[in-house]
Every structure is written in structure tokens, then in C-alpha cells.
Symmetry: C2
């Protein structure tokens, strides 16, 4: 099929079939490999306005488990046999769409596929990668929706002021590791909570957090008091549950709590009832959730400013990359086992080299 494609300089290199991960069973509790099945399908052929993307990296996020169970945000629940939803970065290898040329790097909703068909429609949220001087994988992390979530959550919702204290929960995760660095750029004190001393060392070392605490150690509240002696002005929360509750007890007047994620509550459902909720009213605080795709008008600014900060050496990122498309279910499981350090990705393939040497 690929040989009839209207525009490709990769024709010779493309396979006849490509693999996809589909849902074999609905998850119930922890991620199991039996919930997934790897199937082969013929390489798609682009019709008018369509193009084929070769997946280079795929992104993993806790919400993917939710897609498989009962949907989330704008996504309807998956049915058995559906390809798992997910974002990726890839290379256009066949194109009948003048806006997406062969060789372009794009990121968007590729799904768990080695090769995917797109028409560049808004539903697929396909964007051209804007920072060719930086690694393509950043399009799924710091320069993608992960980074934009940190940017919008921190700057638009929390709005930290110089000298304030920003506590980031899940601070070694994809969003959290960026949110803490952005808090420092805003002139705030960044305190991170993460699981284990090794992660904490990365936060205060490579990422420049002012303090980092292992939330699994005894005496979290006392440790928080010591790390945030002036109280907590912003909680950038990726965890929820007990960790959030401990932090809420220490919020200052007019604190802002950004409810970005609730990794502690996803597997067994919401289980922890929040004792310190009343602090929100008492401290004239604000707790707010957001859905990043409702803030698309902010993506261009976020991408441009964060790329500049990266180039200026003010901002860096953590990636945790598993090698090979067959690792997708294992990579998802890592998130819930909290084994990942930074953004969890799977490296699926290298880009093809243009035959005419353009790239």
C-alpha cells in the first residue's frame, strides 16, 4: 500500500505492516500486561489531506489508565480492541497534506502505534515541533503538554510571587520536576516531595530545588515545617490524598492549591478523605483544577519561553526512557510503581534519513 503514497522520499524504507497496542481487558487495580495486546496491521495509506507519521517517542501519563477504564477529560472510554490513546512525537513519512511535509517532526495524539495516519485535524492536536535545536523527545515533556501543564498550572493558576514558598508534590515526576524549576524562575522558594532519597537528591542537585523531602519517611509534617519555615503559599499537587492533606495543614493566608494530578488515588479510586479541607476557607485560599487542553491559547508562549530558558541554562528536564515499542505496558506500570524519574517515555524508533539528504 505504501508504494502508492502521493509524496514520500522514504518509500523504500517503509515496512508493509506496523504494530499497535490495543486494549485486551479493562484494567482493574494495578496495570497488568494481560490488559494489552500487540497487533500488526498494514501500513496506512494517506488519502487526500492525510499523512503518515512514524513514531519516534511515545509519552506515558497516569491518565492513560483512566482512558482504559471510563474515559477522562474529553476522551470517551476505550473499548476492547481499541488502540490505547497517547501522545507521541514522530516524523512525517508519507504525505498528501501540503501543511505537513515529509520529514517534518510533529507531535500529537499518535496513539500506541508504530505508524499512524493523521489529517492534522484539531481533534488529533497535531503540532509541528518548533525547537529543532533541542531533542525531539522534549516535545513530549518539557516542550509538550507535560511542560505546558507545569507552566499554565504555576503561572496562570498559582501565580507565585517573589519570596513565596511553592511546595510541589510528585516533584520528581514529569510535570512536578518542571513546576519546581519554574517556581525558582519566578523567584519563589521551591520545596519538592518525592519518593526516596535518590529522587530528592536529583531535585536539589540537578534541578536546583531549595529543599526536597522523602514523603515516605516518618514525620512528614515536621519535615515540611522545617523545609517551609514561612508556611506554604502554593501547593502544586500531583499526588492528592494524605500528602496533600499534610501540606494543606500548613498553608498560609491566600494560598493557592493547583490540583494537577492525583496519582495516589488513581489505582484504588479516591480513598483518602481530606481532613484539612477547612483550611481553604479559613485561610482565604483557593484550590483549583484545570484541563490543559482548555488552555491551548497559552501553548505557544509556554513553548517559546521554556525553550529560551533551556537555551539559557535556567531550565532542564528529566526523562526516563525505556527502549522499544514492546515496553509500552511496562512503562505505564512504572508510573504507578513510582519508579520513573521525570517524564516517562518509550523510544520507539529513530527518524529515517531523507534520501535527498535534506535532513
Amino acid at each position: 500500500m505504501a508504494s502508492v503514497a502521493p509524496d514520500s522520499q522514504f518509500g523504500m524504507c517503509l515496512p508493509d505492516t506496523a504494530r499497535e497496542w490495543v486494549m485486551a481487558a479493562r484494567p482493574d487495580g494495578p496495570i497488568r500486561s494481560e490488559d494489552f495486546a500487540l497487533v500488526s496491521r498494514p501500513l496506512p495509506c494517506p488519502g487526500p489531506g492525510q499523512f503518515v507519521v512514524r513514531t519516534l517517542f511515545l509519552s506515558l501519563a497516569p491518565v492513560m489508565r483512566q482512558y482504559m477504564i471510563d474515559g477522562a477529560g474529553i476522551e470517551a472510554p476505550l473499548e476492547i480492541g481499541d488502540v490505547i490513546h497517547g501522545r507521541g512525537v514522530g516524523q512525517v513519512v508519507l504525505s498528501a497534506n501540503p501543511s505537513f511535509k515529509v520529514g517534518d517532526l510533529v507531535h500529537g495524539k499518535l496513539g500506541w502505534r508504530e505508524y499512524g495516519l493523521s489529517d492534522g485535524s484539531p481533534e488529533q492536536m497535531m503540532y509541528r515541533f518548533q525547537a529543532p535545536d533541542l531533542p525531539a523527545s522534549t516535545a513530549l515533556g518539557i516542550l509538550g503538554v507535560t511542560g505546558f501543564s507545569a507552566y499554565v498550572g504555576l503561572f496562570d493558576i498559582a501565580r507565585p510571587q517573589v519570596g513565596e514558598t511553592v511546595l510541589v508534590t510528585g516533584a520528581a515526576g514529569g510535570v512536578g520536576s518542571i513546576a519546581g524549576q519554574l517556581a525558582r524562575i519566578a523567584g519563589a522558594r521551591a520545596v519538592g516531595l518525592a519518593g526516596g532519597q535518590a529522587k530528592c537528591d536529583v531535585l536539589t542537585g540537578r534541578l536546583g530545588f531549595d529543599a526536597a523531602l522523602d514523603y515516605r519517611k516518618q514525620g512528614l509534617v515536621e519535615a515540611l515545617c522545617a523545609a517551609a519555615p514561612d508556611g506554604i503559599d502554593v501547593i502544586f499537587d500531583n499526588v492528592g490524598g494524605e500528602v496533600l492533606d499534610s501540606a494543606l495543614g500548613l498553608i498560609n493566608r491566600h494560598a493557592r492549591i493547583v490540583s494537577c494530578g492525583r496519582i495516589s488515588q488513581y489505582i484504588d479510586g479516591p480513598s483518602h478523605a481530606l481532613a484539612n479541607w477547612w483550611k481553604i476557607g479559613e485561610q482565604c485560599a483557593r484550590m483549583e483544577g484545570f484541563f490543559i487542553y482548555e488552555h491551548r491559547h497559552r501553548f505557544a508562549e509556554a513553548e517559546a519561553r521554556m525553550a529560551e530558558w533551556i537555551r539559557a541554562g535556567k531550565l532542564t528536564w528529566l526523562e526516563d526512557i525505556l527502549q522499544g515499542f514492546d515496553q509500552m505496558p511496562a512503562a505505564l506500570a512504572r508510573l504507578f510503581e513510582q519508579h520513573n524519574l521525570g517524564k516517562q517515555l518509550v523510544h520507539v524508533a529513530e527518524p529515517l534519513q531523507l534520501e535527498n539528504g535534506n535532513k
Copy 2:
């Protein structure tokens, strides 16, 4: 002493002594009469810039118990022997302050006193009553901080849209009874929760709520679903605890929860842990507290617009008035026993008649 006052046309009518309620013991659990003592003191004499106010009505609010225990907002805790804090409306009867003339009606922090001394300073938050065509008691309710709390909480924080559903908890209370009417004026559907069918009947009858539910009846969640078939867009919460939790379970996307009061949690301290807190994040909702005195720049607009709505017959108010200064502790207890219907006041005295008949 009063006879030396620099400006009074009431000299002959004024007593030599006046009574005050002071804190005799710190409350512990429900309000007890033993926590209060009635003392007599000489009538104060205004020095330069000062004036004496004869209390006409005093306002009761749940926060007063908090003042007695450990302070609240900008108020330090009371000490044994201190006069209880509280707002009132009164008549200037002696004045050495050109901005406050004898006969003027003023409202502000009079304290639990029959006669009080003021210098009109910002700390006492003394305002001239702006709606002489309406009853003076409204300065403590709908046209005072009570009404302003409803106005600011609803219009500035919740910002209901036409056709949305606004749930008011504690809807038969001072703030709640106004918030629900304001929601209707904004074009929203107003659903009230109150204790007992009699209060509910007043909400849907006199106050025009679209629906009212007795929160003490079994099956609150089912009843809420029926009364708010399109879900809940705004919770104007005066109650907290279980009632808030039930409502949170039914919030729509982008819901706003105004944390105005927590009457269910004041006596025994915060006791209910919030099971449905995660809905705030999931639904991209916002929960926010506020301190009304941080919104003073909005008071003039709130007072003027609500007075206009009253005159136009679009807005009314509920007052629950006990007669006599000796009723103050009992009036405070009524709030926690939920016996009050609307704003709880005590009628302390009638205004004096000016000897020259100006007023």
C-alpha cells in the same frame, strides 16, 4: 460625665451608666450563659475627634464564638474581661467629631455595648448608613457586611451564569438567604439547603428560591439530584462538613465552591474529612475562601445595588430579632442551635428623638 459633652441635643435623656457584655470564661463546646457577664460602666465622654454611639441593634454571627476562643481574621483573641466583639447600628448622641453629627445613624464595630465611644477610625469600620428610607436594622444584614458577603461571594468569586444551578447551604441564614436571591437575580437556578420544612417553605415562598431541601432528611444526595437535575455549578457554602461533601459529589465541570462559612464545624472543631475533595481537580473546579473586609472597595457598589433591588421589590431579607440587650448570649446560642431564620439580631434600643425635631 455626659453633661460636659461638646455637642449633644440629647444631654437630658442620656443615662449616667451603660451596660456591656464581657467574656467571663472561654467557650468550650456549645455557647453557655456562664461564659458572659453583664457589667455597668460610666457613660463614656468623647474627647476631641470622638463621638458616642447609642446602640440600636446588634448583629450576631458564628465567628463571634471564634473571637472568644482564638481570634479570627484580623481580630486577636479576646481576654477574660474584654467586651465581646460585634457589629451594630446606632445613633450618634454625643460628638466632638465634625464628620459624625449627633443624630447620624452609623454602623460598625460597636461591640456588645449599650453605648460606645468611637473616633471614626478605619479600625472601627464605622460607616454612615446610606439608605435612610430603609430600616436601620438592614445596615447589619442585607445592607451590611452580611449582605456584602453574599454579594462579593456570589458575584466576585462564584460568578454564576444565566441558567446555571447555584446551591446555597445554610440558605435560611443571614448570608445564605441573600445569596440565593442574588443567584436568581443573576438568572441562575437557586436551590437552598436548610434545617426543617418551615425554613424550606420560607425559601421557596417569600424568597423565591427554585427549590429548597431539608438537609436533615434521609436521602440528601437523591433529593439534591432531583432538585439540581443539571448538576451543580456553584456551591455557596455556609455549612461545610457532610453537607458540603454531598454537594461536591454532584458538581459540574468548572464548578465554583465559595467557602463562606463552616457552621457545622465550629463547635467541636473540624471533624468531617471531605471524601469528595478530588472532584475539585477532576471537574476543573475551584474552591475559594474569602475575608469580607479584604473586599471593602466593593461595599459601596454592593450597598447601592442591593438597596435598588430592595426598592424594586426584587430582593428582600429575613431578620430574626430578639428583644433586649440582656438577650445577647441567647441570641448567639441560637445560631449554633440553628433556630434562627435569617439574620440574627438583638434590638437594643429605639433611637432618641432630637429635641429640636430635626429627625
